[in-house]
Amino acid sequence: MRRMNCNTITPEEFVYAARDFIELSNKYFDSWTIHQNDNEILNTYIKKEEFVSHRDENDKIFLYRAEYIIFYNLSYGVPSFSFNLWDCSGKLLTLEQVREISLMKISKEDFYSVVTQQEHPVMYRPYFIIHPCHTAKIVSAFRYTSRNLIITFLGLITPLIQLNLPLEYGL
C-alpha cells in the first residue's frame, strides 16, 4: 500500500477527512464548519465555536467563548489542534488564565509542555496550539482502521480539552 511506512498524512488526506468529518458533524448537529481556499489547500481548516462557563472559587460564573480550529500542520504532516478563548468584551485569555479555568484536564507542568501560544500558521494571529509531536505516531497507527482521521485525532485531544463531542462519532 502507498506510504505504508509513513507516519504522516498528506494535505489531501487531511482535506478528504475534514470534508467527511463535516458531514458527520452536520448529521450529529455538532457545529463544526469547514473553511477552504481553492487556491491553497494548506489553508483548509475546520472550526467550532461554543460558550464555556467557569465558576471561580467565589462561585462567580464567568462566561467565555471558545474557538477550536483543526488545521493541517505542514511541518509535522499531521492535523493540529488550536484554540482561543475570549471574554464578553472580546479580550483574549492568556495562557495562564486558560490554565486557571481548567478547560484542560492536565497538571500545571504538563500544561506548558503541551500548549504553546504562537502565531497560527493558517490564521496568522496568536493562538494556543497543542504541540503535535506525539500526534504522528498515533494517527499513523490508526490510519487504515480509523473511520475518519479527524475523529481519531479528536480522540487524542478530548482527554486534554472538554469538547463535548456527540457520542455518535463513536469515539
Binding site: S31, F51, C88, S89, G90, L92, Y112, P126
Partner: protein, 685 residues
C-alpha cells in the same frame, strides 16, 4: 389568604448580555481608520442571538456585524442595531444616555405605529451601541442598549409551563417543522393558529391587518391563537424580545385590554426540536398603550452589575508593540516551561545593564541581552558611527554613517528600539578618563563631569559590561563598580583570542584555603588582578591600525555571546554576584551548591580561535591590584577626585600606592617563599 394561583407576577424579562467577538474590534478599527475617520455618523450593524436552549442569553456581534447583509446561521435571529462611535472620550461620557435611548425609542415607536413590523417582524427588535475607540491604546469603551418602553407593565396569569402541557408530541414536531420553513425575517415573531386538530405556523401578516383602522375590532381569535417569539431565555422567565413584541401588539389592538393572551417562547435544542419551548399566559392590563412620553429602558449593566459602560482592553492581542513584546517573552518562557523549570524569567526583565562601549562587542552583547529577555540597556560611547562599522557592529546600518555619522551610543539605543519597541534603551555620550592620560587644565572640568556621569550611571544599573577597546579605559569603571558591588562582566578581544570574565566586588578579602576547590564570587579577581604593571598609555607610540582592535570577524560575536551567558548564569544563581567559581571545571559531577540553574559559572573564559580551544582560569583577588584592592578603593573613598586625578596624571602613581613598585623588586624572593610554604603544607598533610 391568596393562593399562588391568584398571585399575579410581573413579568421579569431576561435581558441580553452583549458578547463581543475580537474581530468586531478589528473591523471597527479598520472602519474608523480607513473609512469613517472623523465622521461620527451612526452606522447600521447586525447582531444575533440564539433561541437554542443550550446557549445562554447573549447578543453577539463580530467582524461580520458591519457587513451589508447579515450572515445567517441555524437557530440564530439577526437583529439590526445602530453603532454610535464617538471621537472623544468626553463625548462618550457626556452624552445624555437617557435622551439617547429615548431618541432611539422614538424611532422604534414610529416603526410600531406605521405597522411595518407586521410584514417584517424582525425589525421590531433593535439594539444600540455607544462606543469610543482609543486606537492608540487599543482600548474600546462601549455600552450596549436593548431599547424597550418602560410601560405597560404586564403580568403572568400563572407560572410558565412547558409546551407539552398544551400540545402533543406530534403537534410539537409539526410546529417545529413548519417553523423551520418560515422565512428568516419572520422567525423572530410569528403566530401559531389552531385549525381543527391542526396547528399552523403563520406569519404575523396572516392574522394582523396592516391596513386596519384603529377603531375597528382586531378580530383575533384568542382561544385559538398563540403568539410566538424566538426565546433566548433558558429559565422560566421570557426573553427580552417579548417586551417589545407585547408593546407592539397592544399598540396595534387596544381591544386586547383585560384579556388573556397565550404566548409561546420558542426554544430549540441543537437538533431543531422545540420541546423545551415555554407557554406564557399573559394578563393584559387595562391601560395597555404606551404613553407618548414614556421613557425607554434597556441600557446593559456592566460586569459590576451597574448601569455603566464596559471596557475592552484589546492591547494584548491588537497592539503590535505589545504583540512583539509578549511574543519575544514567549521564547524565554518556553525555556522555563519545557526545559528549565527553575529559570527566573523576571530577573532578566528587571536587571538594568550598562554597556561601556558600543562597538563590535557592545552591539553583540546588546542583541544577546535582548534575546535573553533583558529590557533595560544603556550604552556609553563617545564615538560616532563610521563607514567601516556597520558590517561588524551589528546594530548599525549604512544610514547611521551618513552626514558625519550618528553618535554610536544614541544610534545603538535607537536601533535596539527598532528591534523591540518596548526596550528601555538609552545612549550616553562621554569619554571615560584613563590612567596615564594626563588631564590638562582645559579638560579638567569636562573630566570631572564625565567621572560624575560615569559614577551615576554605574550606580543606576545592576550590571556593568566592560566592552571598551583599551585596557586603561577599563580601569575607572572597574574601580567604581567594585566599590558599589555591581556585577561586572568584562570582555576583551585579541586578533584570534578573547577573554570574558566576571569581577569580584569590594569586600573584605578572605584568606582562601589552598585546598579549596572554588572561589566565592565576591573574592574573584578583576581584569587587573593578574597584572603587575599599572595601565599606562597604550595608545602611545602606536600606529593607527594598532589603536583599534583588529580581530577575526567571529571573535566579537563569540565573546559577546559568552559575556551575556556568563551574566545570565550568574543572575540565575541564588548567590548572584557571590556565585562561586570552581577551580578545575571538569565533566565530573559537581556539588549542586556550586552551580546555578544553568550550570557552573566560571570566573573567566579564555578562547583561542587559532587552536579552537577554551580554558577557564579561576583566580582570587590580588592584594595589590591597582583597580580592586582594598588600598585603592580605600584611597578612592577617602580622596575621591584628587586620587583619580593623580592616577590620570601619572603612569606610576598606582604602582606606588599599591606597593607594586616594591613588589616588582622583591618579586623573585616572594615567589621562592611561596613555593617553600606550599611544599611544607603539602608534606604536613
Amino acid at each position: 389568604m391568596t393562593t399562588i394561583d391568584d398571585k399575579q407576577d410581573i413579568i421579569q424579562y431576561v435581558p441580553f448580555m452583549s458578547f463581543v467577538h475580537p474581530s468586531f474590534w478589528h473591523s471597527l478599527t479598520d472602519m474608523k481608520l480607513n473609512v469613517d475617520k472623523l465622521n461620527e455618523n451612526t452606522k447600521q450593524i447586525y447582531g444575533r442571538y440564539s433561541y437554542r436552549d443550550d446557549i445562554i442569553s447573549v447578543l453577539e456581534v463580530d467582524g461580520t456585524s458591519f457587513n451589508k447583509d447579515p450572515e445567517t446561521e441555524f437557530h440564530y435571529i439577526n437583529v439590526t442595531g445602530t453603532l454610535m462611535n464617538k471621537n472623544t472620550i468626553e463625548d462618550f461620557k457626556n452624552i445624555d444616555k437617557a435622551a439617547l435611548i429615548n431618541s432611539v425609542g422614538e424611532i422604534m415607536r414610529a416603526n410600531i405605529q406605521i405597522k411595518s413590523w407586521i410584514d417584517n417582524p424582525n425589525s421590531l427588535l433593535n439594539f444600540f451601541v455607544l462606543s469610543f475607540a482609543d486606537l492608540k491604546k487599543f482600548h474600546y469603551y462601549y455600552w450596549f442598549a436593548f431599547p424597550a418602553p418602560s410601560q405597560p407593565v404586564v403580568c403572568l396569569k400563572e407560572k410558565c409551563k412547558n409546551i407539552s402541557t398544551c400540545f402533543n408530541e406530534k403537534q410539537i414536531k409539526e410546529i417545529s417543522q413548519s417553523y423551520q420553513l418560515l422565512e428568516i425575517s419572520q422567525k423572530c415573531f410569528f403566530a401559531i393558529v389552531k385549525d381543527g386538530d391542526l396547528y399552523n405556523v403563520v406569519t404575523l401578516s396572516k392574522i394582523l391587518d396592516k391596513n386596519r383602522n384603529k377603531d375597528e375590532e382586531s378580530n383575533i381569535d384568542l382561544t385559538n391563537t398563540f403568539f410566538a417569539f424566538a426565546d433566548h431565555s433558558n429559565c422560566e422567565n421570557p426573553g427580552w424580545p417579548l417586551r417589545i413584541f407585547l408593546a407592539a401588539l397592544f399598540e396595534y389592538c387596544p381591544d386586547l385590554s383585560k384579556t388573556i393572551i397565550k404566548v409561546i417562547g420558542i426554544r430549540c435544542s441543537k437538533n431543531g426540536a422545540i420541546n423545551n419551548s415555554q407557554i406564557y399566559n399573559i394578563t393584559v392590563p387595562e391601560t395597555i398603550q404606551t404613553p407618548q412620553n414614556v421613557g425607554w429602558v434597556g441600557w446593559e449593566r456592566n460586569e459590576r452589575g451597574n448601569f455603566g459602560p464596559k471596557l475592552a482592553n484589546m492591547s494584548s492581542s491588537m497592539d503590535p508593540v505589545k504583540l512583539a513584546d509578549t511574543s519575544s517573552d514567549l521564547n524565554i518562557k518556553l525555556m522555563k516551561w519545557r526545559l528549565v523549570p527553575d529559570l527566573d524569567v523576571t530577573i532578566m526583565k528587571e536587571t538594568k545593564c550598562l554597556l561601556l562601549g558600543a562597538g563590535t562587542l557592545g552591539c553583540h552583547v546588546a542583541r544577546d541581552l535582548l534575546a535573553w529577555g533583558f529590557r533595560h540597556i544603556t550604552f556609553i560611547d563617545s564615538g560616532k558611527v563610521s563607514y567601516s562599522n556597520p558590517t561588524r557592529q551589528v546594530l548599525y546600518t549604512y544610514q547611521d554613517c551618513l552626514n558625519g555619522g550618528r553618535r554610536k551610543s544614541e544610534a545603538a539605543a535607537d536601533n535596539l528600539k527598532l528591534i523591540l519597541p518596548t526596550v528601555q534603551s538609552k545612549g550616553l555620550v562621554f569619554h571615560i578618563p584613563m590612567p596615564g592620560h594626563p588631564i590638562g587644565e582645559s579638560l579638567k572640568d569636562e573630566t570631572v563631569t564625565n567621572i560624575e556621569l560615569l559614577t551615576e550611571a554605574i550606580k543606576d544599573h545592576d550590571v556593568i559590561f566592560l566592552l571598551l577597546d583599551t585596557r586603561e579605559a577599563r580601569w575607572l569603571p572597574t574601580l567604581i563598580s567594585a566599590h558599589y558591588g555591581k556585577i561586572t562582566i568584562n570582555a576583551a578581544l585579541g586578533f584570534d583570542s578573547y577573554l570574558v570574565m566576571r569581577h569580584g566586588i569590594s569586600s573584605a578579602q578572605e584568606e582562601t584555603s589552598i585546598n579549596s576547590t572554588f572561589v566565592s564570587g565576591d573574592q574573584l579577581g578583576c581584569y587587573f588582578c593578574n597584572d603587575v604593571t599599572a595601565p599606562g598609555n597604550s595608545l602611545k607610540d602606536r600606529t593607527l591600525d594598532q589603536q583599534c582592535t583588529v580581530s577575526r570577524a567571529g571573535v566579537a560575536a563569540i565573546a559577546g555571546a559568552l559575556a551575556v551567558e556568563l551574566l545570565v548564569g550568574t543572575l540565575q544563581h541564588p548567590l548572584r554576584v557571590k556565585a562561586p567559581a570552581v577551580y578545575n571545571l571538569t565533566d565530573e559531577e559537581l556539588d549542586p551548591k556550586l552551580q546555578g540553574v544553568l550550570g557552573p559559572i566560571p570566573h573567566s573564559i579564555r578562547g583561542f580561535l587559532h587552536s579552537h580551544q577554551t580554558v577557564l582560569p579561576t583566580c582570587t583577588k590580588f592584594k595589590q591590584c591597582i583597580a580592586c584592592s582594598e588600598v585603592v578603593i580605600g584611597k578612592y573613598k577617602e580622596e575621591g577626585l584628587d586620587f583619580l586625578m593623580n592616577v590620570f596624571n601619572s603612569g606610576t602613581y598606582l604602582e606606588d600606592v599599591t606597593g607594586l613598585s616594591e613588589l616588582q623588586l622583591t618579586a623573585e624572593m616572594t615567589e621562592i617563599l611561596t613555593l617553600s610554604d606550599e611544599d611544607q603544607d603539602t608534606t604536613s598533610i
